[in-house]
């Protein structure tokens, strides 16, 4: 029997080299691009950010303007965003820090007390060049203390940091009263070295002082490049690479398509006439489809068997539900008076209810169509093409409906263009899917290329919106646009998030963080310094609290003794909404940042939609519940045994 076992082992080792053998392995099933994307912890949060943004953009006036975005970004950045990212890291490592909220205020108070003049106002009289590093050292000390206490006593961090939380609250109030005899301390403006540090922690960018006439042209170019990158990336990841060498016709066809699209964009930008718009949009559409077909001819395997159309059971059910929802959305929107902004019932006006019902039904329709598409993919290429074509038609009709029915410019122009663009993408997909084979096996080279293109596109998206947000046009100033201020706090938030994403995803420390959160004993077995890793995570959170404390002090000048108390739960909500597991071992730093943006959107979006802002907490609670339930299923899927 021993010999038989060995022979079998050798046989399986020997066969492993051949590619065909690997693909025949029945234990592994291929996951498509979208399926793989949905395994990422932060994807739910990303959808939430975009969905909420679209919703509030549609129902409220200031949301989405430069000024509205400025306050949204600032709210999301500090204290919420920076802390949410740090807390996400700690939670991935399997611990909580309930003292993190109180610590932000404590650090602000500490730096002010250290830097105020000695005398009746009771400071230590240190220069900010000394006070700021000193307060950082103190913050890291608290983190070290928390971490060591949790590690040495083996008590839950929940209890340990709850104690630290109360210690900090008491210390903040006690020392403030003792030293300055008030429940607030200030003013940091009088400290020596203030001017330099104000630039570091509290500079601002006045949008109206920065004009750039070329802004929209640059934005347009960037958006076009991004669209092209995303289309090519997803095509690369979704379609099978050609087996035989590529057809040379593809390259010139691709070039013709690209040139046509560029001409279309230029035409759209130059003319304002209806005929010009139609011509431009038509050129872009034709160019995109031709270009993608060219790409396909060059690189992708043509489709073999398209199969027949079979609309059965579930598929038909979802398809019908999708179509009905879309039609119902349009019928209801058409029937209601768009100008009536009288109160219908709390919290809706007629206008608001119309927009909400329309958005909800449209969202429902889109979801149903996606589900029907999932079923159709399993049936045949032909069936999938039909479902996609129905979707494209619905989206197109929807776009023109929105254009014809809307009163405000933002729907007539912006929403219309976005919806047309989406329609275009779906049409391109119908054509590509009809002509070329979708991939059903793993191809690391294509995946690597696709991922790289998507990352570049992501960076360009940020650049495009930064350009648009930071600069004004001379014409906008003439029209009397409301000024918008961006703060350096957002830069700190972005930088901190980038560092944490790098650390968690790419470094040994990041790997160890996942390990100590997921299975501490296993990690220790293979030589991971578990105690040190956890202590450093606590220090990361307290370091973040220090940063937030500095940002608060330089923004507000005086700090209340209760600043930050109780905010730690919002950080935890942001982390959980961002896909981090409460039990540790799974999550992402980027997710924490996205969770913070969701909370900011709700906080600012609810009052700007003229709802009572008290609803915010109800919203937070419901969001948390939904996020935890969603996370649970993600974890179940990730941990599930294969059959």
């Amino acid at each position: 029997m021993t010999d038989a076992v060995v022979n079998q082992a050798e046989a399986s080792a020997g066969s492993a080299g051949a590619d065909e053998e690997k693909q025949a392995d029945e234990r592994l099933t291929y996951r498509g691009v979208f399926q793989r994307l949905f395994i990422r912890p932060e994807i739910g949060a990303l959808i939430g950010v975009i969905g909420l943004w679209a919703f509030f953009w549609a129902v409220s006036v200031p949301f989405g303007t430069a000024g509205g975005t400025a306050s949204l970004v600032d709210f999301a950045s500090s204290p919420l965003g920076i802390m949410a990212v740090a807390v996400s890291m700690l939670m991935v490592g399997g611990e909580f820090d309930l003292s993190s909220g109180a610590m932000t205020g404590a650090m602000g108070i500490l730096v002010i007390l250290l830097s105020l003049e000695v005398g009746e106002r009771g400071g230590a009289g240190l220069n900010l060049w000394i006070a700021i590093p000193l307060s950082l050292a103190f913050a890291l000390g608290i983190g070290y203390f928390n971490g060591q206490l949790v590690e040495r006593t083996k008590l839950p961090s929940f209890i340990i940091t709850l104690a630290t939380f109360f210690v900090l609250i008491g210390a903040k109030l006690g020392f403030s009263k003792l030293i300055v005899d008030q429940v607030q301390v200030g003013d940091i403006r009088e400290a020596s070295g203030y001017e330099f540090w104000r630039r570091i922690f509290a500079s601002e960018w006045q949008r109206n002082h920065h004009q750039w006439a070329q802004r929209d042209r640059v934005f347009l170019v960037l958006i076009s490049v991004i669209a092209a990158l995303v289309l090519i990336a997803v095509a690369e990841m979704q379609f099978a690479r050609r087996r035989s060498s590529g057809s040379a016709i593809g390259v010139p066809v691709l070039a013709i398509g690209a040139v046509t699209s560029v001409v279309g964009i230029a035409a759209l930008h130059r003319t304002d006439s209806v005929a010009g718009n139609v011509l431009g949009a038509g050129l872009i559409g034709a160019g995109t489809v031709v270009g993608l077909v060219g790409l396909g001819l060059w690189r992708f395997e043509p489709v073999g068997d398209r199969g027949g159309i079979r609309l059965s059971g579930r598929l038909l059910q979802w398809l019908v539900l999708g179509v009905v929802s879309f039609v119902l959305a349009m019928v209801i929107a058409a029937a209601m008076d768009p100008y009536d902004d009288t109160n219908l019932f709390f919290p809706f006006t007629h206008q608001g209810l119309r927009a909400t019902v329309f958005m909800v039904l449209a969202g429902l329709g889109l979801t149903a169509m996606s589900l029907s598409l999932v079923h159709a993919r399993r049936v045949s290429v032909m069936t999938r093409t039909v479902v996609l074509a129905v979707l494209a038609a619905l989206l197109g009709v929807m776009a023109f409906f929105v254009r014809s029915q809307s009163v405000s410019v933002k729907f007539r122009a912006e929403a219309f263009s976005v919806m047309l663009a989406v329609t275009l993408v779906v049409i391109a997909w119908v054509v590509l899917g009809f002509l070329f084979t979708e991939r059903n096996s793993v191809d690391f080279r294509s995946d690597a290329l696709g991922t790289r293109l998507l990352v570049i596109a992501g960076v360009l998206i940020v650049v495009a919106f930064v350009v648009r947000l930071l600069f004004t046009l001379p014409s906008e100033i003439e029209a009397g646009i409301i000024p918008a201020k961006f703060s350096v706090r957002t830069l700190w938030f972005a930088g901190f998030t980038a560092v944490c994403v790098f650390v968690l995803g790419k470094t040994r420390f990041g790997s160890w963080t996942f390990a100590v959160g997921g299975n501490k004993e296993a990690a220790r077995q293979v030589g991971v310094p578990a105690a040190r890793t956890k202590t450093r995570l606590f220090m990361l959170v307290s370091g973040a609290a220090w940063l937030v404390g500095m940002l608060l002090a330089f923004r507000l000048n005086t700090i209340q003794a209760n600043t930050g108390n109780g905010e730690e739960f919002e950080y935890i909500i942001a982390a959980v909404v961002g896909g981090t597991l409460l039990t540790g071992g799974y999550g992402s730093a980027l997710g924490g940042a996205l969770g913070a943006i969701i909370i900011a959107e709700a906080t600012l979006g609810i009052p700007s939609s003229r709802w009572n802002s008290d609803w915010r907490f109800l919203f937070l609670g419901v969001t948390l519940l939904l996020a935890v339930i969603a996370n649970r299923s993600i974890r179940a899927r990730a941990e599930a045994m294969r059959r």
């Binding site: 076992v5 996942f514 390990a515 299975n519 030589g527 071992g585 990730a638 941990e639 045994m641």
Partner: protein
């Protein structure tokens, strides 16, 4: 025993207060051989592993590695000496990807000035190749270990121990929670590891798993050694008999038969 063995245990005993957990146990293992440690629950198998893995220290007796006396103060020292232990349930972090688990604690890094990051492509490539050598074809090393079957998880842990230079591999009941087919997979990995020149100590309570792969069998019962046999000196039925406590099993058999005889006339 004229020549020196890779790892040799000589009359190991372990007392916890007045409790005798292990008494005068001796065995040995050579490179390219499998020594199976068999015993029922409470036979002292866990104590035996913990002493070898450095988690506990023996009260009496000596451990010789390449003929030299050694004592391990903690698991790290045992690991550094080339003794890797794969525990049944503590082997892996289920939510982490295969390659991260494979390299956990010893990640290969690249460096640019003060920045140091994991060389992901190298780690993935090595993990894939090493697993391939063990006959496990993991197409995407990004998949979480939790999605692997129990047998595959044990296999990944074995491959990892081998790659990081273990000379002696201790496996703690790797097949006990697995089905027949999965157990076969793990047994195949044990043979693979043996063929690559590792000395394997395979702890199990299933003689039919031990028999095909073992070169030497140590049978424990209630902390006592019931014998330390080379494969040619013992047969599978004898092994099973010994493991179950020989005379005790016969006693049990008689009692059961008596019980059946008594109850059958009435029914």
């Amino acid at each position: 025993m004229a020549d020196t063995h890779l790892l040799e245990l000589d009359n190991i005993s372990k007392y916890y207060g007045n409790i005798v957990a292990l008494k005068d146990v001796s065995t040995s293992v050579n490179a390219g051989e499998v020594t199976c440690v068999l015993g029922d629950n409470g036979a002292g198998k866990s104590t035996f592993i913990k002493i070898l893995a450095g988690a506990h220290q023996q009260s009496e007796g000596s451990i010789r590695l390449n003929g030299e006396d050694v004592t391990f103060a903690n698991p790290r020292e045992a690991l550094a000496a080339g003794i890797a232990t794969v525990y049944q349930d503590l082997a892996m972090v289920p939510l982490m990807s295969v390659w991260r688990n494979f390299f956990l604690g010893s990640e290969p890094t690249r460096r640019l000035g003060p920045l140091k990051w994991i060389d992901k492509s190298k780690a993935k490539r090595i993990a894939k190749d090493e697993l391939m050598k063990m006959g496990i074809d993991i197409r995407d090393t990004e998949q979480p270990v939790g999605t692997l079957s129990g047998g595959e998880r044990q296999s990944v842990a074995i491959a990892r121990a081998g790659y990081f230079g273990a000379k002696v591999l201790i496996l703690d009941e790797p097949t006990s929670a697995l089905g027949v087919k999965q157990s076969g997979v793990v047994l195949r990995r044990i043979v693979e590891a043996r063929n690559r020149g590792l000395a394997v100590i395979f702890i199990t309570h299933n003689p039919s798993h031990a028999w095909p792969v073992g070169n030497r069998f140590l049978i424990l019962n209630r902390g006592q050694s019931m014998g330390n046999f080379a494969k040619e000196d013992i047969s599978l039925p004898e092994l099973t008999q010994l493991m179950a406590g020989g005379a005790e099993l016969e006693q049990l058999q008689h009692e059961l038969e008596a019980a059946i005889r008594e109850s059958s006339p009435q029914s």
